[in-house]
Amino acid sequence: MNFTRRTILAAGGALAFLPSPLRAQPAAGILRCGLSAWPPNLQPWVSTGASAGTVKMLTYGRLVGYDRKGELIGEIAESFARDPADGAWVFKLKRNAFFHNGDPVTSEDIKWMIEQIAGEKSTAYMRAQFQLVAKIETPDPHTVRLITKAPVATLPHWFGNYNMGVISRKSEANAPIGAGPFKLAGQERGTSLDLVAFEKYHKPGFPKLKGIKFVVYADENLRFAALQSGDMDMIEYVPWQSMETTEKDPRLKLDAEDGPFMDVLFNATQGPFADPRVRRAVAHAVRREDIVKVAFFGRGRPLEGVPIVEGTPWYDKDLAKGWNYDPERAKALLSQANYAKGFSCKMLATAQFGMHKDTAEVVQQHLAQIGIQCELQLPDWSTRVAMGSRGQYEISIHGVSGDNNDPDGLSVVMDTSLSPTYSRSFGLKAPRTSEAFAKGRAEFDHAKRVEIYKEMQRAALEEVPIIGLAWRSQGYGMDKRVQGFKTLPGALTTASGALLDEVSFG
């Protein structure tokens, strides 16, 4: 055979159509899933981000979880209800729930867990909430009764957080024994985690997979490339610019929901932003569609009110437009506040995340239209966090999500009576809003709660503890063979990984 340039070129071209032995091949029943970040650690109750949260939910399990519509359901707890006699929250545990060491999950384990979380030296994310628990009763191995210092209607949601893993009281400091659908079988530090199905999982017939291999791809474009090339069966956080490509790819599908949102925070200790009229002027000055277009490639929705998820009972169509784009009104508000000629200020964001920087630039442009000249400060994320927590800014751009879809889940962002942090406005007092949050938390009647939270929205629109800018879409990309997964709605998008126990290959 003669090897001419033409035959060599033809052979090279044909290579593209052959199944490549060089590419990763899937193992039967093992889902290969691309994570966006390596879990800093897998401590069950410390906040370690959503990627770590996925691994934690799958290995430790939770007392309660969420169904596909985002409704609270029992997981290790088969039921939960309030005892009308003394107001205690009563959790009944499943009798077939076991830890990975084979021990049954008992009420003593849950009691021990809550004590650890609420302890004085605890660094748990839900520490402050569980310090409201006055007494924990364990009348039998399968019943836990929680008596709180004050009535808390949202207490079951606390157990649905991904930083609320259930672990055995026999666990050693750095070796938690969970009760989730998968066991941690091994890890290549900084690179990948291998989970294998737990045969005594409390949901009969689940998990459907034999295992999951999580591979970390910090670069979003490479993560998407890994999905597109077939190296991964599924990835989290599909980059917005790649969502359309995912939808058009005949082999792939996208499951996305609007959940987290971008917002504006203020330092109200001094200067123009101490005046709520100026804050309202800012709220009316920004055309949100530009943010959705520029920062999220159209994958999101304008947010012109308090970030209440549409479709929930708490949502009000009119209140949701309370901070609509109205530059004339913005100018009038500035005049009323004696800033008719505008002013200059410093706007804090971060250059480390494109969505923060892009959003800040759009807001900067729109504020300039009403005479507010912002000088952008774009340090790295760590510096931005430090500056935010110390109030070293005048106005800042942030991206966040509520704890859950109950309006109380927004208190972490909007309740100004809580301690200062970079993700809440600094030195700002919104007493009516805070009061409404407290009232709603203590109210058990659903209809009354709806009214309370509508009042909370009215108060927030006037007091402006934050300004909502845009909902951003959060999506999982996957091979069409991956069946049974659903991105949870609203603030729960980051907890969607828990549903991997229902995933199978079609």
Binding site: A124, D219, N221, A225, T383, S389, S401, L418
Partner: protein
């Protein structure tokens, strides 16, 4: 011997200076490791929990006290533990450094295999088609940033042709074939600029050697052209090439960040970047100290070699 001891002492003083500067600078830069850790994912951290974690991590102690503890640990070969997950820094470096070195060595090997023959051939056919094309290509490769080449390689070979994996890492012992497949693209990306440098340097050196008297003499003696080329031209031309190669390899120790990031290669750069973001002080200082230590070691070896070759340098 005194000269040698003086050089060693200088290296130790420099290493100490690096540790002091990096340690102190890191603590001056804004950002609290405890707060960052507890607010992972952009959520609000409880200030009481932050304070508790700071105490637990030893961050509430005076800075000098923290530095002295670190220094005494270094004396015992212990670089401390990560603030994020308590993982020993020395173990992390022992795990990651070989991967970075492997990447650099693979890239260098490709650069040498391509650059030296191509440079020699181009010099021998100076001004010819090959010389013009490859010289142009070398200039282009030097001009294109490594992340662009990396992204293009992923786009073409992984996403479009689906011939190669997009990136990642598998240990050699687990699956050698897959290991080398995953090594190929980042190594090519590393080799890109280096090959261009080696090509240019070889070409210039060979041209210089070709014009030397000893080459003319060798030819006049009737030696075969191939023997003249290999024994007299290339051999003499390679000395400056190797010097440049050594310098570039040293630079690559801290310069593989982008390649490791683009190809998800878990070398030393990735934890360094992550540690800086998380203000994981022991991890940052440990890795920087290791990299600078290697630099100092390479320099020391070079000094010793120069001194062996030319004793006059010892007096300098």
């Amino acid at each position: 011997m005194r000269w040698f001891l003086r050089r060693i002492a200088t290296c130790l003083v420099l290493a100490w200076a690096v540790s002091l500067v990096v340690f102190m600078t890191l603590h001056v830069v804004p950002g609290d490791p405890a707060e960052l850790l507890l607010s992972t994912g952009g959520i609000a951290a409880d200030p009481v929990a932050v304070k508790e974690l700071r105490i637990r991590l030893g961050l509430e102690r005076p800075l000098l006290d923290q530095y002295m503890t670190f220094l005494s640990g270094v004396m015992r070969g212990d670089l401390g533990a990560s603030l994020v997950d308590d993982y020993p820094v020395t173990k992390e470096i022992a795990l990651r450094l070989p991967r970075t070195l492997e990447l650099i060595l693979a890239g260098t090997l490709i650069a040498v295999i391509l650059g030296i023959p191509a440079g020699t051939y181009a010099a021998l056919h100076r001004g010819g088609l090959f010389d013009r094309i490859v010289s142009g290509a070398a200039a282009l490769l030097l001009a294109i940033p490594v992340f662009v080449v990396g992204t293009l390689l992923v786009l073409l070979l992984a996403q479009t042709l689906k011939l190669m994996p997009a990136g990642g890492y598998v240990p050699l012992a687990q699956d050698p074939a897959k290991h080398f497949t995953l090594l190929a693209l980042p190594a090519i990306a590393i080799a890109k600029s280096l090959a261009a440098v080696v090509f240019r340097m070889t070409r210039a050196s060979v041209l210089d050697a070709l014009s030397r008297d000893f080459v003319r003499t060798a030819r006049a003696k009737g030696l075969k052209p191939a023997r003249v080329l290999m024994r007299h031209v290339v051999r003499n031309a390679l000395t400056p090439v190797l010097t440049v190669l050594g310098l570039h390899m040293g630079t690559l120790l801290g310069g593989t960040v982008l390649v490791e990031y683009v190809f998800n290669w878990p070398g030393l750069s990735t934890p360094l970047l992550r540690a800086v973001e998380a203000r994981d002080y022991p991890m940052v200082v440990g890795i920087v100290l290791t990299i600078s230590g290697l630099f100092l070691l390479i320099n020391l070896i070079m000094d010793l070699l120069y001194a062996a070759l030319d004793p006059r340098t010892r007096a300098a």
